[in-house]
């Protein structure tokens, strides 16, 4: 690792890490709750389609819903029990809108089903590995929840050179990846080797922020002398965990706008994803649980827990000794990019790395005041944008103006909002404007498509009419000719 040249990334902020409360807590298994609420949309893409019926008895690891469409992921039973409802339930999303959800009444036996046969992954075709990863329902565990198998299949379209494993964990409070790296380094390295085989690359860089020396040591020991696997300590700088910025730090190249890191020959996966891939290929287990950091000053016993997917947040908080005092904010994920929980009834999903119960002291929220053009947001933006100019336009509803200032290049890291002395919710404006702009572009595309079809139809009709007319004229001429001939012959 030493001697690898690192490259600087622009801007960024240094929020208070606040990881001390959970950093030294070993991962503990959480008791199985009575009911699991398993959403069928825990990933980017289309929701999974249920394959079980109401009243079915399912075993742990059994397929509950199969993927639908090119970008989707299956969902499995996290434990054994009975299906008591298939319907809609509040999702862990700020909208609080319901999504298709299967409810499982657990029976406490935790009995496994037969999943798939074990085979040596290194004897497998790369495509077969991607297939098992797809069948195991593995998605990006860092929070993006993009189906991992799709990323493993990138070798078909790109000449890949490097695998980067994202163990930066730059979000404050979260330590789930850090604990996983310390306690399961060997499994992570094995998962990485399987991914390298699947991707056909010979070099892997595992990037860990330098504030996690224990994790770096564990990984270095586990990596041993595996050729091509290097552990790299990267600077402590938010948003180091952004895929494109991490890639830039390690290889010095910016991912071209609107392209993938694969354009640079690089694929980035999260450490927890590597662990899940190890579990799927070596133990034939689908993704049915994840490590969650439960912390914040309002939590009685903060810690890291292995939690079954679908476990209600309220159950997790109860198992952590409940709340000390009323939290100002309940957040799913980290404090920079996480989302507020609409209620504690919502379940944990594959991409949730943390539950934070923050007190008012930890959430220094103030009412926004006018922008004083101090340019703090310009200086910290890791994407080289002018957040203050974009915000003026987004606020006024001038979406095209905001887009002209690079709205769609914003990665929503929130560094601008974090530093703004006027407490202007900049990134919130951008998220709103991005949604509205996408919607507008979709509508515009639709309109253009309709216009094109109408014009095509008009043209077709005109052509038809013209052809008909010509045909008629031709026939008329023919008739006249015939008549003439007839009259001539008769004459």
């Amino acid at each position: 690792m030493r001697g690898l040249k690192l490259f600087k990334i622009r801007g960024g902020v240094h929020p208070n890490a606040n990881k001390q409360a959970t950093h030294d807590r070993n991962i503990a298994k959480l008791p199985v709750p009575g009911l699991l609420r398993i959403p069928l949309l825990q990933h980017i893409g289309s929701p999974a389609q249920p394959v079980v019926k109401l009243g079915d008895y399912v075993l742990k690891g059994q397929l509950l819903a199969r993927p639908q469409g090119a970008i989707s992921a299956p969902v499995h039973a996290p434990t054994s029990g009975k299906i008591v409802s298939i319907g809609k339930y509040q999702a862990p999303h700020p909208s609080g809108l319901p999504v298709p959800t299967i409810t499982l009444k657990t029976d406490g036996k935790d009995e496994w089903t037969q999943t798939w046969e074990y085979e040596d992954p290194f004897q497998m075709e790369p495509a077969k590995i991607a297939e098992i990863v797809a069948n195991a329902g593995i998605v990006g565990m860092g929070g993006a929840t993009f189906p991992s198998a799709v990323k493993l299949g990138l070798r078909n379209r790109y000449q890949l050179e490097k695998l980067i494993i994202n163990g930066a964990e730059c979000e404050p409070y979260l330590t789930c990846d850090s604990r996983l790296m310390q306690e399961h380094a060997a499994e992570i390295i094995d998962g990485i080797r399987i991914m390298m085989h699947a991707l056909g690359v010979t070099e892997t860089l595992i990037a860990v922020e330098k504030n996690k020396p224990d994790a770096i040591t564990s990984l270095e020991q586990a990596a041993g002398d595996h050729p091509g696997i290097k552990v790299v300590g990267v600077p402590v700088q938010y948003p180091m965990g952004s895929e494109k910025h991490l890639t830039q730090t390690l290889i010095g190249k910016e991912t071209p706008a609107r392209a993938l890191t694969a354009d640079l020959g690089v694929v980035v996966h999260n450490v927890a994803t590597a662990y899940a891939i190890h579990d799927a290929l070596r133990n034939s287990r689908p993704l049915i649980s994840r490590i969650v950091t439960v912390t914040g000053a309002a939590i009685q016993n903060p810690g890291n827990y292995q939690v079954l997917i679908g476990t209600p947040v309220s159950h997790i908080i109860d198992c952590c000794g409940g709340l000390k005092n009323d939290p100002e904010k309940l957040i799913l994920g980290g404090p920079m990019m996480g989302q507020p929980l609409p209620s504690t009834k919502v379940p944990i999903i594959k991409g949730s790395g943390g539950i934070l119960a923050l007190t008012s002291k930890e959430v220094p929220m103030k009412d926004p005041s006018p922008c004083i053009r101090c340019a703090s947001c310009v200086n910290v933006c890791p994407c080289g944008l002018l957040p203050l100019e974009m915000a003026i336009r987004a606020k006024a509803g001038d979406l095209d103006g905001a887009a002209e200032y690079g709205l769609m290049d914003c990665i929503s890291c929130g560094s601008c909002s974090y530093v703004c002395p006027s407490h202007i919710p900049l990134v919130q404006y951008f998220n709103y404007a991005k949604g509205a702009l996408t919607e507008k572009q979709r509508a515009q595309h639709k309109q253009e498509e309709i216009k094109r079809l109408i014009e095509a139809r008009k043209e077709r009709m005109e052509k038809q009419a013209k052809a008909k007319k010509e045909k008629l004229a031709r026939r008329k001429a023919e008739m006249a000719e015939k008549k003439k001939q007839v009259s001539e012959t008769s004459a």
Binding site: P15, P94, N156, R157, Y158, Q159, L160, P172, E254, T255, P256, A257, R258, A259, A262, D263, L264, K329, I331, P335, M336, M337, G338, P340, E362, V363, P364, M365, K366, S369, P370, C371, I372, R373, C374, A375, S376, V378, N379, C383, G384, L385, L386, L388, E389, G406, D409, S417, Y418, V419, C420, P421, S422, H423, P425, V427, Q428, Y429, N431, Y432
Partner: protein, 363 residues
């Protein structure tokens, strides 16, 4: 929109705030201000107090007329700072109404006419300072020689009230030209710089600020210390002050090297008049300066150039106020033209391209 605002992160915040920024700037101004009170005595203190109070009252009046919440805006410190900066640029023994008219011009015309904090195109303190200079040239150029506050020869508390409120005082006895004013006058009388400099303050006096001049501008060293403190606290960045001071130093040195008799040395430009205050406290005003670092360097350099040009070839001995205002007018243009390069794009906004790009893509 309101639901969007309440539901998304970040849920943590840096220890920043407008009030904190303003407080740091005032703290940085404190040494030079106290020094100004010391060398110009009680009248300076009175004028300062009047100007700041008038600024606060104007702010309160504007806010209430505009129907904005008075309390949060009044206590963000920006009005106090505007009044403070204006007072620092005034002749220390100017009559009370100069401070009041100036404060009203700064807050009402310079700030609230544009829409209040963050909206103004021009630096409010400089709007007032320049408007006063043009409207009341006599009062705005009547300087006094240093009258240390504890010196028995300087006016006492009561006499000082007379100076500030009635102007009924023999100013001729104590008046004295500022360094830049003296040089300008002498040069215009075809007196060589050599001779002109012997009849005004020396190097040490100029740098320390024991000269006649504006209330808080003369002590370049103390202003510089305050400016360095702001740099250290990251309240301001180095780009504007450094580019401005370097430009002034380079240009004035060049002309002084060509014609030492006709052009003053760089140190006089750097340590006289409003140079230091302008470079660290006026031109760096967040609202009216460019937002990008390159833009700030351009802004600072052009400001410096204008200061030299006005001082050297224009009718006024001091050009800081005019320079800053002229450059304020250019700021929107600089911000429009100079933008940071967006991640993953070249300067023209096209996605960056590497030769390997095409190789990496199989299709």
């Amino acid at each position: 929109m309101s639901t969007v605002l309440t539901v998304s992160g970040p849920f943590t915040h840096d220890n920043t705030g407008i009030r904190r920024t303003m407080a740091l700037v005032m703290f940085a101004l404190l040494p030079a201000t106290l020094f100004g009170f010391y060398i110009y005595g009680w009248p300076a203190l009175y004028l300062f107090g009047i100007t700041v109070i008038a600024a606060i009252m104007s702010e309160a009046a504007c806010l209430s007329i505009a129907g904005k919440p008075v309390r949060p805006f009044l206590f963000d410190g920006s009005a106090i700072l505007t009044g403070w900066l204006l007072a620092m640029t005034l002749p220390p023994w100017a009559p009370w109404w100069i401070g009041v008219v100036g404060a009203i011009l700064a807050i009402v015309v310079g700030k609230h006419v544009f829409g209040g904090i963050g909206q103004n195109l021009f630096n409010p303190a400089m709007v007032a300072r320049v408007a006063l200079l043009i409207s009341f040239p006599l009062e705005m150029t009547t300087w006094v020689s240093p009258q240390p506050i504890l010196d028995p020869a300087s006016p006492g508390i009561v006499d000082s009230l007379i100076i500030t409120f009635t102007g009924d005082y023999h100013l001729d006895a104590v008046s004295s030209a500022s360094v830049l004013g003296h040089i300008k006058t002498e040069l215009s009388r075809d007196i060589s710089l050599d001779q002109a400099l012997t009849t005004t303050y020396g190097f040490t006096e100029t740098v320390l600020g024991v000269t006649s001049g504006s209330l808080g501008e003369t002590s370049s060293v103390l202003v510089l210390i305050g400016g360095l403190f702001l740099l250290l606290m990251r309240t301001i960045s180095w780009h504007i002050p450094v580019s401005m001071l370097v430009t002034i130093a380079v240009i004035s040195s060049f002309f002084h090297w060509i014609d030492p008799d006709g052009y003053v040395a760089a140190y006089i430009h750097l340590f006289s008049g409003a140079t230091m205050l302008g470079a660290f406290f006026i031109a760096t005003d967040l609202v009216t300066s460019p937002v990008t670092r390159l833009g700030q360097i351009i802004f600072g350099a052009l400001c410096g150039l204008l200061v030299f040009v006005i001082r050297t070839w224009a009718g006024y001995p001091e050009g800081m106020g005019f320079s800053v205002l002229l450059m304020n007018a250019v700021t929107p243009l600089i911000d429009h033209l100079v933008r940071p390069r967006i991640y993953g794009r070249d300067r023209k906004g096209k996605p960056v391209q590497y030769p390997v790009n095409m190789e990496n893509r199989n299709d």
